[in-house]
């Protein structure tokens, strides 16, 4: 099967650097109605959630709204979090990302994005992620892992993940044939995953 990928050789990371097991435990306690555990969960994760929302939405007020919505969802669903499906931080950030992207796209559906975006955004600032960075150990580890990507893979992943564009739009923005961007995104993610030592979740 050609979509099988190599097993990473590096030791597994700590799920975003904040003690994945501890975070999962906080969520479990929240699921039983423990508001103090949820407050601790918020304190441990909010900077990542808010930062991601700001990056995708490019608007702090909207990012704040989205983050607030996400944490309420998160509280309500905390008892249903299943750590065999992935880490707690990934669960949270997946929801943040999805909501942010949904909001960007539906706002654009109202005022149809015109094609000039290609010119405006076509030149990707490769250091844009680095600029927003905070000086954490985990962040420098991620940045080092990003160096394993080709410039082209990195562009595609940044436009898709941080820009919130679809792979079809990414292809157009990077002057790639349709269908090439999705491959580039996937290849880049495999490299990044292996460089970070993220294991595929067992017994998937």
């Amino acid at each position: 099967m050609k979509h099988l990928s190599s097993v990473p050789s590096d030791p597994p990371s700590q799920e975003g650097g904040s003690g994945g097991a501890h975070l999962a435990d906080l969520l479990k306690r929240a699921g039983r109605g423990d508001e103090a555990a949820f407050a601790e969960w918020y304190d441990a994760t909010a900077a990542r959630a808010f930062g991601l929302a700001v990056r995708v939405l490019r608007d702090r007020a909207q990012a704040e709204e989205v983050t607030q919505e996400v944490y309420l969802d998160c509280w309500r669903n905390s008892g249903r979090f299943d750590e065999t499906r992935g880490s707690a931080i990934s669960w949270l950030l997946t929801i943040v990302h999805r909501k942010s992207v949904d909001r960007v796209r539906s706002a654009e559906a109202a005022s149809r994005r015109d094609t000039t975006y290609t010119q405006q955004e076509g030149t990707v600032d490769h250091d844009s992620t680095a600029e927003a960075a905070t000086a954490s150990l985990e962040a420098s580890r991620v940045r080092a892992a990003l160096d394993h990507l080709t410039i082209k893979q990195r562009q595609a992943i940044e436009l898709a993940f941080l820009g919130g564009y679809t792979h079809t739009e990414v292809a157009k923005m990077l002057d790639l044939p349709v269908g090439t961007a999705k491959t580039r995104i996937r290849d880049g993610l495999i490299r990044l995953r292996d460089a970070l030592g993220v294991g595929e979740v067992a017994q998937a």
Binding site: K2, H3, L4, E15, G17, A30, G31, G33, F38, A39, Y42, D43, A46, A47, R48, F50, L52, R55, R60, E64, Q68, Y71, W75, R76, N77, G79, R80, F81, D82, S87, S90, T94, H97, S106, R112, T129, A132, A133, T134, S136, E138, A139, V142, I157, A160, F161, L162, G164, Y165, K182, I185, R186, D187, L189, I190, L192, R193, V198, E200, V201
Partner: protein, 242 residues
Amino acid sequence: MSDIHALSGAYALDALDDVERAQFARHLAACAECRAEVRSFSETASHLAEIENQEPPAGLRARVLADIGTVRPFPPETAAPGSAPAGPSPVVTLRRRALPALVAAVVALILAAGGAAVWHPWTNDRSTLADQIVHAPDAVRITEPVPGGGKLTIVRSASLKRAVMIGDGVPEPASGTTYQLWLQQPGQGMVSAGLMPDSTEPTVLTGDAATAKAAAITVEPETGSSHPTSDPIVLFPLRSTA
């Protein structure tokens, strides 16, 4: 779509359009390898957020904690494999009954009538028409949460006069029932726009979506109804463009 596996990365980064997303979610339910891959990619992407860290405004914490004081967490899922936000349930029931025969009959009828339809129903490929609608320059989309979980998005193109319903994490209707789609037409009330037996499959509504004032989805007996027999689970107001 011959190599649907290749969409795993774009799926994990939310870089698919609604139709592709629904199609890939359907594929995921049947492909353990892609599920494992998507999970590993989601973990990877969550590391990327690490370099975007930003301290949230101070007031947010208080608002979040005030919010959670007002509702209790949902009870855990106890029986049927519902869908957690992290991924679709691995179990999918395919219920395909007599639809192909019905579609064939309708196609034959349209061919016999030589109708001047804008689209080509004989391609018999719902995803193609769904794609056309979603990508139409005048496509308008409305997303609503579903009370039982998940959400529904309707995308309408007035120029194509068609609309497509796209489910995302919508629970399967109870055994013996089906989702049915409706268009509210001026002077006619709710007119059936077809069944949606599988909410993971983008479903094109039959009927003129340009004249419709609203679209709705109800739960009906498995064979469908000629009029809605229950309140809509979601009602989408549309602006008539006719």
